[in-house]
Amino acid sequence: MRLMRTILFMLALALFLALPVGGALAQDVMDPATFGLDASKPYDGTQLKFLICCSTAPQFASAAVKGAAEFTEMTGISVSWGDLPFGSFQEQLYLEATNPNTEFDIVAFVDAWGTNIYDFLHPLNDFVADAGIDWDDYGPAYQQASTGNSDTIYGLPFRGHPLLLHYRVDVLEAVGMEPPQTWQDVSAISQAIVDSGMDIAPMAMYYGLNVDQNLFNWYSHLWGAGTDIFDENWQPIFNNETGIAATEQYLSYVRDGYSPAASVAWNEQEANQELVQGRAAMFVGWWWMASRMTNAELPEVADNAAFAPAPGWAGGDTASYGYLWPVGVLAQSDDRDAALEYLKWLTHPITERRIVLDAEDPALDTNVAVRLSVLADEEVNEVHNGLQGVASAVLANARTIPLIPEYTEIVPYLAEMINELATDAGADVQEVLDRGAEDVRSVMEMAGYYNG
């Protein structure tokens, strides 16, 4: 009886203590003021259309679904997400953004593509100031990508991706090596794996032509070695001595046999499959792919999944591409204020945190967050085994690509150049890079970058 009374007392105490916490959480979620939303519902009944790709991918699907009903309840605004495949999204984005009669109000866009639609986006500087959005809660690379390195904010960071090294702990332990910190370490570990005679490819790289994915890791090599695509006068410099060394290192993984010969035609997904299906020990790719390895069917892959920052350059820098999808509002939207109201909620740290913490449904389970405060959140890191902490470390040194409209025209030339070097083992790196630099220079010249 006494025991019963004690248990009941403990339960009552626990309930008493939990009530304010639960109440606060519920209030956080359901109180429009928490998100800076107008409680008087001035946009009640407004229907917004959001142009976005791949809404079935967990990183997007999670943001589309989690809490959306609550937002509608709080504001009366309903938002319908467009679902376009990634392959045709760029084209559709340009067509809708430049269409004065577009039915879309909100757009999400890849950083590089945004440069072509800046004129069609509503500047968000005043909105950010008025809504009290903490701009410093975003890393420098994401800030640059959202502003195009200007003073105008064209979009708010929405989905962002640092490059991580995905690797097999068991394989590295078998050869007695620590996770690589530099690309030169990657080569050394690869050689050790080859020497050990293990039946696994040391590395899965991707040099194929597919939406220019073969450039992601090339940037890390260039920047790490100490060079860039352009100098301060917009002259291409990736073909200088440092650029050649960086490119040779980047190609060495396939040329030295560390990455399978077929990687010359692989895209990022195919390379990742090599890792997930247990045929490769290392892969450098976006962090949203991490769950594929941790959820892999093969226990030897899932149980040995580990992640580290993308490697840097021995004796040089560690800098990789911070890839961002900002979200903006089209200037021609008839419901701009309602769209801004949605942005307040969608990019709010509470919304972002809730999306990442909710791992119940695998189809909506995502590790993707962009705010530094969410990336540093202990509970978030606990749920995702510290992945956000690794991402923070990468983002501290992350950079963005040249954010000029001409870059979308230049990128395919660079991707072709890398693909040529990868597919033709005898190709002279200097000669191909020089040719690529000429192509780039002609685009910049036509755009008037060298006038005067």
Binding site: L95, N116, P260, N419, T423
Partner: protein, 323 residues
Amino acid sequence: MRKKRWVPWVLIGPALLVIVLTTIYPLLAALYYSFHNYNLRRAPQFAIQIGESGIHIDWSLLSLENYTRAFSDSRFINSLEVTFWFTVISVGLSVVIGLFIAVIVQKGGWLHTLTKVLLIFPFAVSPALKGYSWRFMLNENYGVYDLLIDSLLVKPVNALLSLFNALPLVEIPYISESIVWLGDKFWALFMLAMSETWGWAPLIALMFVGALGSIDEQIFEAARIDGANRVQIFFRVTLPLLRPVILIVTMLKTIFSLKMFDQVVTMTGGGPVRATQTINYYIHQMGFVRSLDIGYASAMSYILVIVLTICAALYVALVLNRD
């Protein structure tokens, strides 16, 4: 009874309207754009300007620059070459394989009938899906091609060689370890053409089956009485009689091959390097992905339209001639 002249126009009106809106208007608009420096990144300036004072034409905004630029653009020239070779390979393979299938399945019997029904399926697969499927099938780890060639050809031959202790001297390398289909310029273009052949050859076979069925059996009978064997009958009798159909099928397939786009996007991405960048793919890249240069893309499209018009005229002439 007085014939009401307006009735046919009312009946075909909706269809005509759709054609005008979806075909004629875009065609004319593209022609108009092709003479302009029209880029989606900038506010367009068109020659025909409608103002309060009426319609004004600014001739200085019209030029042939986009057309002259095309013929000095090495990538456009490359796309012409790629399209030419793609057309030659895909048309050649589709017609030859189609004819081969037709000869096999033309006879009666339930198996042949069933085969004829099944033949239409590859053609019904969407081109984009065809590209994805072929990319998958050509994968060295889980693709069916390497598996088939290695297990049905390379392995047995090497096993045979080992019986004669010849293996150290002439061992055939496994395909999965020696060829990267989509990483090699020749094989990538060839496999792109094969993916097209896979869809078209069965349809062409059905056309040939129809044509073969219409040939009078007495002609074959006469050839046999004259002592011709099967091969002679095929080359001396069947093929000459099929010539009009072969020409029509070739022309039709040529028109479709010149427009190749979907599989390039989903299967090769135009690579390796530029080995599978067809004209349509390059036009799309320049117009909607890379430069957003609608004027230039329109001009290149019109160059393609001229080539297609010539082919279509030949096709119509052949059909009419046959009739």
